[in-house]
Amino acid sequence: MNKFRYVLVLGATALAIGINSCKPKNAVSAVTGDASSKAYVAPGKYDEFYNFLSGGFSGQMSVYGLPSGRLLRVIPVFSVDPEKGYGYSEETKPMLNTSHGVVPWDDLHHPELSQTNGEIDGRWIFGNANNTPRVARIDLSTFRTAEIIELPNSGGNHSSPFITENTEYVIAGTRFSVPPDNSNGDVAINTYKQNFKGYISFISVGKEDGKMDIAFQLECPGVNFDLSHAGKGKSHGWFFFSCYNTEQANTLLEVNASQRDKDFIMAVNWKKAEEYLKAGKGKKVAAKYAHNTYSEKTHSATSEIRTEVTVLDTRELKDICYFIPCPKSPHGCDVDPSGEYIVGSGKLAALIPVFSFDKIQKAIADKAYEGDFEGIPVIKYDAALYGEVKKPGLGPLHTEFDGKGNAYTSMFVSSEVVKWNIKDLKVLDRAQTYYSVGHLCVPGGDSRKPNPKYMIAYNKITKDRYLPTGPELAQSAQLFDISGEKMQLILDFPTIGEPHYAQAVAADVIKNRSVKFYKIDENANPYVSKGEGTTKVVREGNKVHVYMTSIRSHFSPDNIEGVRMGDEVYFHVTNLEQDWDVPHGFAIKGAINAELLIMPGETQTLKWVPDRVGIFPMYCTDFCSALHQEMQGYVRISPAGSSVPLMFSTGKNQPVAEAPKAK
């Protein structure tokens, strides 16, 4: 969701609440007696579910346990993280490389867990970068970012990274249409209609290794692609995107992109696109985009700039894309577990349209079109519609499913979640959220096999829910028990950044695959030190390489002399520990950088350029043992041209005898 847009909508929220009978009641009254026991997880006990939350404008992904709402980890993805050295160590810097150079921040909106046969398989989770368009893959055996691929011809990768039911593809659709990268981009902004295009990327995912590659891009008319979901079961082979700004406005979209009564859901027959690709209908087009991968063997990332992408033109290749009218700036675009029903949520509409996959197929066969939009056929609304949920609430956004025939839709403006039955389209229950709910999450709720014990609402506004912390307040998640007929609020928990979308999965799917440490024997970092006996300091011109080890509780070497002004020092620190939960940290005074946090068996490198002559302490930052405070050392920096010889040691540099005092 677009934060900016919502801020604008907020003015309307107050008004809407005033006139709406759904005004949130006193916050406390909404929680009933046994709520705390339902969310209670005893100290030392594991949670039942992992909940992966996007960090929104933090650029990261956070991991919470459910039902406790305990924060377990923040995974750095698109933003640097000095706490973990991510984006600061020499090994991780290439992860944030793009065609624009290193970009240290982004805006991560949607996490999506990998699936096999439409069920969450627990191998990877993907995330999208909304600002500088990218998709990341996180390995769930290490909870670390394994790969990031940039997307050419795109501006704002929002309808992403949703996946097909066997993770054949992860999808990225541009939010901002822009002139294609290989065209002349120096055009008047008000030539949107003539020059701007909407690109959708199909990123293939390696079956075994998860490696991402842009298989092809679809060139589509210039509109804003907002969200998407893959077909599943019977509709596997199709993908559905919500589109707004079919007005093709280039300014004051708040007004100008809200003119038309209906925008579109775009249905994409990607199996057909694959056929065209095979038949050689794709055009190879010059492009420039980064592909970054992290190796768990060398414990380092590499970044490669790619220069070509294959594009299919959807106006020439007629039967790939179809538009379906959808009321008023559709936002959410969600497909039920059977694959038959596609729910479009017009955020300015007073109803929720539900489309039928079978009817869409028939409409295409019958050519039941009302015309075309920029050369793409537009199916008649009634020919695709299964039915409408009437008066669900104000500002419908996103829908998740329980696999028992029910759907849960968030209502941003009226701050509520509405449970409704897919077959008869009747509203069954309403629950208030506090406040301004965006996405919802049911574990597996966008897959073929939901695990519907809980539903979590992710709220943009918390106002009076927590102790005040100045002008900026935490955003939040609210946990509902949905095992019964009625939704029951059982827990609030504050979140990192903006909890935009989230996914959840039973802990058993992931927890037993967790890596505990890296085997030192398999460490293939070129700067590894396998044992203290191999540690050394090597000068190569003005570069000084320190091959260093850490183990509870000392560094080797811990006394280094002979480094001079003008030198660049690289500390290659290998953690020799071979046990779970024993990272060591490394920091040195004055480094305009960050710390290293080195996992057992891993090697990481900190670059340091001394800025003055003197003695510089270094130390372990991660409390490692009773003698952690003793885990320290010194580096001596001498003036440029100094003749102090290079020397290094641990435990051998004995104090000099005190000079006899003159009488």
């Binding site: 030392g44 006990k45 030192i520 024997d521 396998k530 046990d579 043992s625 435990g651």
Partner: protein, 163 residues
Amino acid sequence: MFLSVICAALTACGGANTESEKAPGTEESTPAQQASTTDKKEVNSNPSYDPNRGEGKFKHVDISPGLIGAMADNGKKIADVKCGSCHKMTEEKLVGPGWIGVTKRYTAEWIMNFVTNTDEMLNKDPKAQAQLEICLVRMPNQNLSDDDARALYEYMRKNDGIK
């Protein structure tokens, strides 16, 4: 991480650990368990515990009178990577005790159990705990395989003059 400090501080007066409920999935005992051992001064209250053998999978190890040279060489390679930061081959204590004479002070089973089942031994074994009181750093579990442990023992034997 913080746990280690508490553990090290408390195990100094530790005894047999009879608590059975562990934090799930963790090798280290919880602070609560450690605290519960602080008021138990008696050592080896569990009569089935054999302090000569230690606790672990090695019940009986056959050791030939002569040295197996290749095995000892392999043990040295392992020691250089995983042990040498803290243990010298002489009698000098670094972080942990020097290794000279170690095969005379302990049985093969005790050593091999200690290096593969470190945390449990530190929680339970009187000799291991006495050593911890001197060193104050819990020996890390370096995840040695059974063969690694055997090779390491052979290297220790070589260091102790077995030919």
